[in-house]
Symmetry: C2
Subunit: 583 residues, 2 copies
């Protein structure tokens, strides 16, 4: 229906007769002439309709977002009338014929407006998606998955589909359930990940598998979560963690280069989980921020200030300092704000020392004394003009408080020293020790430990796993591990996790069976596509990189899903709604 | 962990030291020497372990399906010992070191057995998938999707994901439902297709969209259906049906060439729905079979044989003949079997005329008389040695009976005159007329008619749509249509289908709204991937082209899904099981 795309017309097309199709982005009337900006997926071109045009009467009825087919001749714009903002800004099309393919009611918001409320944007998503920024994000997303597939295909990975209607697996989050009509009273679960199936594919001898696949978690939603999300899922046999990480690093470097022309550097650094927690307070350190926590335990053990000396001397507690370059200018009011901010993580206060021109200043100087203060300044490397914040509490609280404060300060004060900082986090613990002494899996129960089964039993709470996470700019974009491939080891881990034989057999007996029939050594990784595209596009919300996202209450404002269902339909599924109170 | 793949070792590797990893496909002991066939994803190689090998004691413990890493030297096989069936058959590896990566219990069936029951295969799917045939099918499937993506990407289609947790849409089949925890008493539906979303993407200005996506239908399963299936979903704006069909034809030709090196021919023929039904009795004619039905209505109207003259003279009934070359040799017993076969479709009998050497023979000759018999022979072009079958009943019964009989006979007698026969079926009716005179949509309510709204209202029951199906070898592998893009037309169609404004608004009001904001002319197509791969691989069952399929009762024998769910979990979802009788 068209000879050219609007965005691709330029001086080379002058004097050509062209046919274009697209939407009226804007209409202006000027001196009896109608000017239309016509928009298609490749851009915008200006169309001129002179009063002597046979279709002028038609043109007069045209409003924004009408869909038109226009035939016309490309001419150069008059002297000084070029629009450098448009690729087609040097030319315009003098229309000879106009066909209205469809009309449009007045739109509820201008397509290129940036101040539309998200609720309205989501309700009229088909209009919001016409916005140039949304179009670009969707194009970039498509480009990223294209690159992923090219890379995986060229490395001989097979794209294999795993089931969506499957069994609840122990991933930690709540499952979305699907009642079965043919098996009354029974339910499928939507997969939280294809974890067990990809391991089964290794046991099936495929050796290299990948899939870009939707996964589902019925979690309480945060800003960057969606009930359905997409991951690049990878698994391979006969490779160790170094080989897998190297290959996944190459993939990551490639996609950043291909999609947004960013060079992530030759070899990603790596950090142990222990160091990440100790230095940055989080297991996903943002390495763009040139600030580290400094451990103060030894220094503070002897001070006559219980707030510090207590945690400094106790197991499971710590005192740490965070030096913020240029932070002496932070106002009292802002410090109060940060004090409130760290209280989210359980911190009971936020002690600080400012290094003013006239020397250190702080309500706590009198408790620390000059020597300790001088030592703090020396240890943190603080300079005049800086501020030093302190955390002193249970280790978890200090880490979370100072770790998040570090990132908040970096945002507020623009304390980033590079635009991109990937890092591998390795040597994760196998287990989380619960308050009652029981153990939970940090990743999932199929992650291999880095010791043999006997040593694992002896060292369980502190044993490390063969897991690895890839963090970019403080976001975990991917993670994986070498999996357990021997049944004895799997049984040991399940025993340590307090999962009974019966429960294990019921939930994933098929996997335990499969381990006994020649399971190869294997491992893999999964990348969160939404998160990756979010980082690449600098989007604030995960909803901006998904064509039809859900709100934070897991609803679709466009289609009004979820919705009530006729009782007859539910009866066929042998379920009924029961709105009794939850326990 | 390896230097080479088993299947890739050959004479060029002689004298090289290699490391291979894989499964023990077979172990033989011969003259004190152990021979192992080691299998990896690229094939099989023979390993020799001599008695003087330091690992010989280890080797003696090795059984089938153990996973090994073997270091050894490649040597030429002795004179006359080459195995031409193996790519690596000219060489063998003399092992120097053997590492058992994992053991295996005795497997419940030999990996390369072909007589294993499907139930056992599905339960131990991870063993079944090690079979060379299953590996090849999965590889082919991956190759097909790879080609599809390359094609769509290169034609500037954007890969955009649509939601899985969405709203019930009117596709005709039952929906799989998902209870919502955050919206108690409400349900998501899993998509039967992304139909409405892909149309919304056109309204969003993406112009060209594709997705390879899982769809869900809770239907009573037939041999070639699965509750979850995969389709290549395509939609484009500003193209008419000829342009879309041409492009999809190029895609189809390309994927057959790329995946199985088959040339489907330069331009696919097309046939109208009416002709397909009239000549082949089905809307998905298998054009490999050089047999057509011959209409006998006019000839039989006057005969003194009510079984024929009745249907020949009545509206909505017909008499048709099917000439089967070489069919005179079909035994009486077999004819009885075919008579029973057509009774499935409601035929009350199966009249025939055999053209034996000594002339026509049939119980009905006496009713037809010589002249009519001669005319039948002339009209069908039958020769000595053929048989002519008759159908005489309601048109639907005759078409289904003779249409399916034609295909059954072709299979039984190998009456195919070409290996591949694609054909477009076009000019479908818009509507099916129900017994009560109401209308149903043949495709879906968003399919555009090939007339304007006013004409449609006047000619509704017989109006044709702008839909097209692609049929290969008698299977519908894809279908699509130009969609309605104007709200008045959509309202007219919904009215004709008896869908009230309220129901329409409730079910897809968002689409009706979107039609009013500048919806471009658009259309598209969907290919059934499972069906396509089934045809390409010559598989008998759709389960053979899916890694982890469901049974005909929609269950997974491997994972035992679906399964019961703790009541507490259901309570969180505000549903409960109610096993009361269905109404």
């Amino acid at each position: 229906m068209r000879t050219n795309y609007c965005g691709e017309l330029n001086k080379d097309n002058i004097d050509q007769t062209v046919e274009i199709c697209g939407w009226v982005n804007r209409r202006r009337d000027h001196g009896g002439v109608i000017f239309l900006d016509i928009r298609d997926k490749r851009g915008i071109a200006q169309v001129v309709i002179n009063p002597d045009n046979a279709d002028f009467a038609i043109a007069e009825t045209i409003r924004n977002e009408f869909v038109l087919k226009i035939t016309g001749t490309v001419i150069a714009r008059g002297e000084g009338l070029a629009n450098p903002k448009l690729a087609s800004g040097d030319i315009e099309i003098v229309a000879s014929h106009i066909e209205i393919l469809n009309t449009s009611k007045p739109v509820p918001f201008q397509i290129d407006a940036t101040d539309t409320s998200e609720e309205v944007r989501l309700k009229y998503r088909y209009l919001d998606l016409r916005n140039d920024a949304m179009q670009k994000r969707m194009r970039l997303r498509s480009k990223v998955t294209h690159f992923m597939r090219e890379f995986m295909d060229s490395h001989d990975f097979l794209d294999i589909e795993t089931p969506f209607l499957t069994k609840a697996t122990p991933e930690g989050a709540r499952d979305y359930l699907v009642p079965s009509r043919t098996h009354p009273g029974e339910f499928f679960a939507l997969p939280q990940s294809p974890q067990l199936f990809k391991q089964l594919l290794m046991m099936s001898g495929f050796e290299r598998y990948y899939q870009i696949v939707k996964c589902f978690r019925d979690e309480d939603l945060r800003a960057d979560r969606q009930p359905e999300f997409t991951q690049l899922d990878v698994e391979t046999s006969f490779m160790n963690e170094d080989e897998i990480m190297k290959m996944m690093e190459e993939l990551t470097r490639g996609m950043f280069k291909d999609a947004i022309d960013v060079d992530l550097g030759d070899e990603f650094p790596s950090i142990t989980y222990a160091d990440a927690m100790h230095l940055y307070g989080v297991d996903r350190p943002d390495m763009r921020i040139p600030m580290q926590m400094t451990d103060m335990d030894e220094l503070m053990q002897g001070v006559d200030f219980k707030v510090f000396s207590g945690p400094a001397s106790s197991d499971g507690s710590r005192v740490a300092a965070l030096r913020v370059p240029g932070g002496a200018s932070i106002s009292r009011k802002k410090i109060d704000k940060y004090t409130k901010y760290v209280s989210i993580y359980g911190a009971k206060g936020l002690a600080y020392i400012k290094l003013n021109e006239d020397g250190p200043a702080s309500p706590i100087l009198k408790f620390l004394g000059d020597d300790v203060t001088a030592k703090v300044i020396e240890m943190t490397g603080a300079q005049t003009g800086d501020i030093i914040f302190f955390g002193a509490d249970k280790t978890k609280i200090v880490n979370e408080a100072l770790g998040n404060l570090r990132e908040q300060l970096a945002k507020d004060m623009d304390l980033f020293d590079k635009p991109w900082a990937p890092i591998w986090v390795v040597d994760f613990p196998m287990f989380d020790e619960n308050d009652d002494g029981s153990l939970s899996a940090i990743h999932h129960p199929f992650t291999a430990p880095n010791v043999d089964a006997k040593t694992l039993e002896e060292t369980a709470p502190t044993a490390l796993s063969r897991a690895y996470d890839l963090v970019i700019n403080g976001s975990e974009v991917g993670g994986g591990s070498i999996r357990i491939h021997q049944v004895e080891m799997q049984q040991t881990v399940l025993k340590l996790l307090g999962i009974s034989d019966e429960e294990a057999k019921d939930k994933f007996g098929f996997l335990l069976d499969a381990l006994e029939y020649g399971c190869p050594p294997h491992g893999g990784m999964a990348f969160g596509l939404d998160r990756l595209v979010m980082i690449m596009t600098g989007s604030d919300s995960i909803r901006d990189v998904i064509a039809f996202p859900k709100t934070q209450t897991a609803a679709c404002l466009l289609t009004d899903a979820p919705a009530e269902v006729p009782r007859k339909v539910l009866r066929e599924l042998s379920v009924q709604v029961s709105l009794a109170k939850k326990d």
